[in-house]
């Protein structure tokens, strides 16, 4: 029987209300760090349990303890301070890292939470890291004379974290690089940095890329030093699949089948159609079915409903086509 079509998630899940309140209280100095951590663990356990219950194959911890994906790591590293508020869009603001000295890892950053999450389940939990190119691109730089020097120091730090995760038993390690596709002229640099991160790892490595000018970056994407490319397909009506039709493609892809920017929950039938479209171009073992991106901007209810549809659609496709 053919194997494949494993289900997974890109990384973040929405935080429950009690955790959002606790984070605000903690920020205002009204809640001790220990208590916040207990609530983060509670929310993590709830998400692990949910994923097991609906039958997802490769789990994530849901990043209940993270705010911004670059700032979270910068706060735990040497060489960074954190900026004042910067607007991202509409009424959304965040704080950006500022490199003010040589950046380096102080110690493990995600290891403890990964071990906690993995200890809750027999299924594999992905190690989730932010890639060096994105970390640098989403930071201010007051120290490094060149972007390259900044990115390479970050690559070494992220590599150390990946090694720690692998030693602890992680079999899937994802290095998110949503900024990578924004500058075709720097794809080679970003790819080199990713190569430093994944060097010597035996875990299945994944990078998540957000949609950029795909025509200009595709030739670089296919050669990125990872085992799996995780891509947004649903919000581009699966048009990206055409690129894979034209080229011989050996890697796996994370097939984004859920639009994370839309409140509306997908229909099972439309997700099934998306998976079947991908199967015309790729083999079942090459396809990992997941949402387009992190689900943290949706409500808990919306995110759970979307994940249920995803799993159900995948299960039906597998049954119809006899995939194990």
């Amino acid at each position: 029987m053919t194997k494949g079509l494993l289900t997974t998630s890109v990384g973040s899940f929405p935080k429950p209300d009690y955790l959002l309140r606790a984070r605000n209280q903690f920020a205002a100095g009204k809640l001790p760090a220990r208590e916040l951590e207990e609530l983060e663990k509670r929310a993590t356990k709830e998400w692990i349990d949910f994923q097991e219950e609906i039958g997802i194959d490769i789990l994530v911890d849901g990043e209940q303890y993270r705010g911004d994906m670059a700032t979270y790591f910068a706060e735990l590293m040497d060489g960074f301070t954190i900026s004042g508020l910067v607007r991202s869009y509409g009424n959304r603001y965040y704080r950006k890292p500022i490199a003010v000295g040589p950046v380096a890892r102080r110690g493990p950053m995600t290891l403890e939470m990964w071990k906690y999450a993995q200890g809750l389940t027999g299924r594999p939990v992905k190690g989730m890291l932010t890639g060096p190119y994105t970390m640098a691109d989403w930071s201010f730089n007051e120290y490094y004379p060149t972007r390259e020097a900044f990115i390479m120091d970050l690559a070494r730090a992220v590599h150390e974290e990946a090694l720690d995760l692998e030693r602890a038993g992680a079999t899937y390690i994802q290095i998110d690089e949503p900024a990578l596709s924004t500058r075709p002229e720097e794809m080679e640099l970003g790819s080199r940095a990713l190569g430093i991160v994944t060097q010597g790892l035996s875990a299945h490595t994944i990078t998540h890329i957000c949609y950029g000018d795909f025509a200009k970056v595709f030739q670089h994407l296919v050669t990125l030093p990872v085992d799996q490319l995780d891509l947004e397909l649903a919000n581009s009506n699966y048009q990206l699949l055409d690129y894979f039709r034209k080229a011989r493609f050996e890697k796996a892809i994370g097939l984004g089948v859920i639009d994370v920017h839309n409140h509306l929950v997908e229909q099972v039938e439309e997700v099934k159609r998306g998976i079947k479209q991908a199967l015309q171009v790729l083999k079942p073992h090459q396809i990992y079915v997941d949402p387009d991106c992190g689900l943290k901007t949706r409500s808990v209810e919306e995110a759970q409903a979307k994940l249920r549809v995803m799993v159900q659609a995948n299960r039906e496709v597998k049954r119809e086509l006899g995939i194990e």
């Binding site: 900026s83 004042g84 508020l85 910067v86 607007r87 991202s88 869009y89 509409g90 009424n91 603001y93 500022i98 691109d137 989403w138 201010f140 730089n141 007051e142 900024a179 924004t182 500058r183 957000c210 950029g212 919000n235 920017h261 839309n262």
Partner: protein
């Protein structure tokens, strides 16, 4: 030499005692405050932004674009035929804009920015300029479901922007600027832009400016210098090649010298800025120079934006001492 800014200014004050626009928008979205209350906070924030520009010692101010969600949405949604779609990344920045969808004739109905401009003028001791999106930038950031013809779409955008400029002129604006980053990132549209430039400036007798940023004018030089605007703004941070493209800068035109990096918190050294002005003198005399950041200041936290303005003002003062 005149010190100025390119357009927007951070909306949220670095200290908590400023007008809390962020909270007001949240409350307004939740229908907990009225449109009048929302407008009052936006006006307060506008006064605050103007006051800060003046305190930094700037000569020519803007209203800070306090009501603009991003560089294209605010103006677009004031036009007929437009609805709003999902978020897209704005160039290679980590900021996002809500994409306008054009599903009917794109036409100017009534002034969009005039009230903001006149309010700002009433509350400013210093001269103000009116800043609008450029026609190409506007057209390239919408999804066109109506014209299905790029040139027709750009012409409609240019006509709308001309109507707005005409209304601003009638309301007393003495300096009208269009911000056109797309022109230096999609140079294939230059021939079309030459026609658009004629449309937007038609009947405008006050001073006009075209600001480009996020790139250089290589490939458009020297024709770019012949565009029908009195002030031509260029980015010398992300478009270093512009240094070599000023030869033959027309005697009757003025230069917007974008030499301070509005996308990084690292502060420029005043003597280095003076050095750049010294170098510039060979091609453009300093009495025809506007000294400004390379692009809008909203990529920075408020505190850092203010410090950037202080450096611009200090560099202009120092240059007047040693160079004039």
């Amino acid at each position: 030499m005149i010190t100025t800014l390119v357009g927007n200014y951070p909306k949220v004050p670095s200290l908590t005692d400023g007008p809390n626009l962020r909270t007001a928008i949240t409350r307004y979205d939740q229908k907990r405050i009225t449109a009048e209350e929302m407008a009052r906070v936006a006006d307060d924030a506008t006064r605050d932004a103007i006051g800060e520009q003046a305190r930094a010692g700037l000569d020519l101010l803007t209203d800070g674009h306090i009501r603009w969600e991003d560089e294209v949405t605010y103006f677009s949604r004031g036009l007929s035929g437009v609805s709003l779609n999902g978020l897209l990344r704005f160039f290679d920045t980590n900021t996002y804009y809500r994409q306008p969808i054009v599903s009917g004739a794109l036409a100017w109905q009534k002034p969009v920015t005039v009230r903001d401009y006149t309010f700002a003028v009433e509350h400013s001791q210093k001269p103000l300029k009116a800043v609008l999106p450029g026609p190409l930038t506007l057209a390239c950031h919408v999804q066109d479901n109506h014209y299905k013809d790029f040139k027709k779409l750009t012409f409609a955008a240019a006509e709308a922007l001309n109507a707005e400029a005409t209304a601003l002129q009638a309301a007393g604006a003495s300096f009208i600027q269009w911000n056109e980053p797309t022109l230096v990132r999609a140079k294939e549209h230059f021939a079309v832009f030459q026609e658009l430039a004629k449309i937007v400036t038609r009947g405008i007798t006050v001073k006009t400016a075209l600001y480009t940023y996020f790139g250089d004018i290589s490939g458009l030089y020297p024709q770019f210098l012949g565009l029908p605007f009195q002030v031509l703004g260029l980015d010398f941070v992300m478009g270093e090649a512009n240094f070599g493209l000023l030869k033959g800068f027309p005697q009757e035109k003025e230069l917007g010298f974008g030499i301070v990096d509005a996308r990084n918190t690292k502060l420029e050294i005043v003597e280095e800025l003076v050095g750049h002005l010294d170098g510039l003198r060979a091609t453009v005399s300093l009495d025809r120079v506007y000294l400004n950041p390379n692009c809008g200041l909203e990529f920075l936290p408020r505190k850092n934006a203010y410090e950037k303005l202080e450096r611009i003002v200090a560099a202009a003062a120092r240059a007047k001492e040693v160079l004039l």
